[in-house]
Amino acid sequence: MAAIAIEHLGKTYADGTRAVTDLNLDIMDGEFLVLVGPSGCGKTTALRMIAGLEEISEGTIRIGDREVNNVPARDRDVAMVFQSYALYPHLTVHENIGFGLTLRKMKKPDIDKRVREVAEILELTDHLDRKPRQLSGGQRQRVAMGRAIVREPQAFLMDEPLSNLDAKLRVQMRAQIARIQRDLGVTTTYVTHDQTEAMTLGDRVAVMRGGLLQQVGPPQTLYEQPANLFVAGFIGSPGMNLISTTLTVDGGKTTFGIGDTTLEVPESVLHQRPALRNYAGKQVAVGIRPEDMEDAEIVGDEPGATLTSVADLVEAMGSDVMVHFPVQAEAVLTEEQKQLVDETGAAVAGTSGTVLVGRFSPRTRVYVGQPIKVRIDTARLHFFDLQTGKSVWD
């Protein structure tokens, strides 16, 4: 087991494409770190540089005490699980799992013992004599995991290992990966584009975009205190509602408007975000998580914290109800949302309005076309600078 230290890591391809820029990350011994971001954000390139499959253009990578920039992949003592599993088609499950040990000239009885131990953990014992083509997707995935585990490496690297599984199996395997990692205590770097996977698996999550690290921290911190608009929009499903508005300071009250409604920023928020006072009279991006909205019929309405609108779409999810409703306000779109709007054209209601999504209690009786009152938990509002995109703190 070893820590991984990444300093000023950069990657420029021969054609001039920059995949990773000035990446700094300290992955602690035994930690489960998830690299997450949209496709093309540089997360896989970063992982491949740690693995030794991609040359490093700038910066250093240390695994344990050793700088590994010029150490070939086979000598880095890290194991990788590939998105495609990359099982050797001509070898049995037993030989696949034991391949790394065979190459290291370990004795056959020892290999057999280790392979069987790992097969036991992964419930593959009955399949040891089969070839990969005789296995289901989930079993192949477990063989790929087994191949990494059996070597007892310093670190695991996983490149979207669950993306080829169906939704149900993915949830099961996610839990299994989390359990195995916790039991073995091996430092793990996990790449995914799925924010749910990132949030559920990672001790810490590093969000990347365009080759740049946006924020790194425990999942809950990313969720509650996103460093910028991108992280705010990327983490959480459905994403945070982001609206452009003007802050008004009148006497002791700080307010902003959404359509005809004026919402008040509570004292606690101003206390947490002292810099917000500098935005008096200026445009700012306000973020509201869907779960910070509720049907006012259930929790009661309160002046300065209630919006009125008409339900546009109601999605009953069982555990909660997603209510989409339009408001007269300008939306702040993150790059990904812009892309989504381009593709579907569905998320924006007209040019001067935007559709907000609220996650209501299943007790709500809201139906499509009904005028609704939405109570907003204003103590949990988020604020971002529209120019820099950064969260407004102090």
């Binding site: 030794g52 499959l53 070939p72 990788m80 590939f82 990359a86 050797y88 088609p89 391949f99 939704a167």
Partner: protein, 303 residues
């Protein structure tokens, strides 16, 4: 959610879900179409096999019978069939020694081409080195060089180096002219192996050599099998190269059989049995390798 998916699994029942059933006329037409193809294939097969079969019968008939009646008469009078021709032929020392020569030429010329070709193909497909693409272009260029234009210069070179008239000389010539195709074929096959597979082997601690031996070679077996058969048959059946570079001591069976023809004029008994002896070994090679012509060897390795 998970259990709901399980119980509600809406696997469509293909028998009852109303896939448009083909009309009887369509099915009959389909059967007829299949039947026609089969008939054509059988006719072609018979067309090809009848002369071969005739040759086989002729090789089993005495010279006198061959010169007085057609081979098909043996079908009604099988008593005339005899192994005498084969015994005579194998008693002839030039035939047996040239058969041995053919093996001594064909086996090394095949093994070397496959071995060198596979190593070069792996490097050209998966190892980054300066000028790699130019080497590949050169290999493709060599594919179109006809061997005839090299005969005289190489004959001179062999004369100067003492390789002329030796089995080694013939083998080297075959290796040189077999390699471009071998490299081209294997390189294309190897570069189709998923990159992840080689990277996984590298992460598992593989050196280039162990990746080549333990991953690329076994996966490349279908291509290697076809190449081996092509190369072996090509060398085994070669007459031109052997005519130029072999002397009576190193001549292969193709030249020896041709020699028999010139000596005796009408000698169908020797020619027929000689031809059969000369195709037995290629047939063995073909049938022992053909099981590797299995498609989908990579199935299950990824996804």
């Amino acid at each position: 959610m998970a259990t709901a998916t399980e119980t509600l699994d809406p696997t469509p029942d293909l028998n009852t879900s109303g896939t448009p059933s083909r009309s009887i006329a369509t099915r009959i037409a389909g059967r007829l179409g299949q039947g026609t193809v089969q008939v054509i294939l059988i006719v072609i097969a018979v067309f090809w096999l009848v002369p071969v079969f005739g040759l086989l019968i002729s090789s089993l008939r005495p010279d006198t019978a061959n010169s007085s009646s057609g081979w098909w008469t043996a079908l009604t009078a099988p008593s005339q069939l005899t192994l005498e021709n084969y015994a005579n032929l194998l008693g002839e020392s030039t035939i047996t020694s040239s058969l041995i020569n053919t093996v001594l030429i064909s086996v090394p010329a095949t093994v070397l081409v496959v071995l060198i070709g596979a190593l070069a193909a792996y490097a050209l497909a998966w190892i980054d080195f300066p000028g790699r693409d130019w080497v590949m272009i050169g290999v493709v260029g060599l594919l179109v060089v006809p061997i005839q234009i090299a005969l005289i210069p190489i004959a001179k070179f062999y004369g100067a180096t003492g390789l002329f008239g030796t089995i080694t000389g013939v083998v080297l010539f075959h290796v040189a002219f077999g390699l471009p195709f071998a490299v081209f074929l294997l390189r294309n096959y190897f570069s189709g192996i998923p990159r992840d597979l080689l990277e996984a082997a590298r992460m598992d601690g593989g050196t280039e050599w162990s990746i080549f031996r333990r991953v690329v070679l076994p996966i490349g077996l279908p291509a290697i099998a076809s190449l081996s058969i092509f190369q072996f048959l090509w060398v085994w059946n070669d007459l031109l190269v052997a005519l130029v570079f072999a002397d009576p001591d190193s001549q292969p069976i193709t030249i020896a059989l041709r020699g028999q023809l010139r000596q005796f004029g009408s000698n169908i008994d020797i020619l027929a049995s000689g031809s059969f002896i000369s195709i037995i070994i290629p047939l063995i090679v073909f049938f022992s390798f053909q099981r590797y012509f299995v498609q989908g060897v990579l199935a299950g390795s990824t996804k």
